[in-house]
Symmetry: C2
Subunit: 170 residues, 2 copies
């Protein structure tokens, strides 16, 4: 009978203090963006690792499940925040972080911001076309004004995003 491994759920056994703090930093960071903590852990560790890491490395070093690591990497890839490292003489895939702000911001805007902006615009259009019809003609003026305002907000948003990317693009 073995001694039951008393191993606490210690993640990050292989990580130094600096790495743990940077990971913490990114966990906080991604929360602001409305992304799950695991994304911050994964990106953070990749960011502060001298060499590319495999999915299995992430699982071991962060103490997260294979499922989380797999899904997290997928999301990060679609965000353009992580890419597969080239030419490792090995079967498994290794991952590297994208580290230029332009690319990161661009990916976030493309995947998270634009879709909402677009769907917002079309919802507004439908609003205008159908829901507004059900309002008694006498009351329409106010509603019209407000919907116009919403539309101008969306438009402004659409104008600002490219500027933002340009500014950050440096």
């Amino acid at each position: 009978m073995d001694i039951p491994s008393p191993e606490p759920k210690t993640e990050a056994i292989a990580l130094n203090l600096l790495q743990r703090q940077v990971i913490e930093y990114f966990v906080d960071g991604v929360r602001v963006l409305g992304l799950p903590p695991s994304l911050g852990e994964i990106y953070g560790l990749l960011f502060i690792s001298p060499a590319p890491l495999s999915l299995d490395d992430l699982v071991r070093m962060l103490g997260i499940s294979k499922g989380s690591a797999s899904q997290g990497l997928r999301t990060l890839k679609t965000l353009g925040a992580v890419r597969e490292a080239e030419g490792n003489g090995d079967r498994r895939t290794y991952y590297q972080p994208a580290v230029d702000l332009k690319r990161l911001v661009g990916g976030f805007i493309r995947e998270q911001v634009r879709p909402h902006l677009e769907s917002g615009k079309s919802k507004l259009q439908r609003l205008q076309e159908t829901a507004l019809q059900d309002v008694a003609p006498g009351e329409r003026e106010f509603y019209n004004e407000r919907i116009d305002r919403l539309e101008s907000w969306m438009k402004r948003g659409g104008q600002v995003l490219p500027m933002l990317q340009k500014i950050l693009g440096q």
Copy 2:
């Protein structure tokens, strides 16, 4: 013995289709910003109501609890998204939405973005000062480069926010 009120939890009895859809619109909108749905409901209803509403109006029209309404209004006030209406010959307070984008964006940046940016900066400083010391001198180069990069991100962020406000300002 009364007939037990079969009243379904129907919210929004007094709202027309347009209003319900606009509220839905804002519920989605605030989610993107990482704010709770109730804020979207409250702001949305105020936005699409011809006249200011009281806390009690919000409770009845949205079918939410007094607690939610009270807390939601507080948050919206600190975000500068809602303000109390002046001079109603009445004891209770009535609320109006702020409807110019500049003010809304400004409030969000001030309350939600800046604090994170600031705390991020100071965390980085601590990182630099303490955690980096524990790294073996030979390995410092890589870590240094990455931390410098983080600092440049924060700096860029600090520069972009005012521009953003300016652009949206009109």
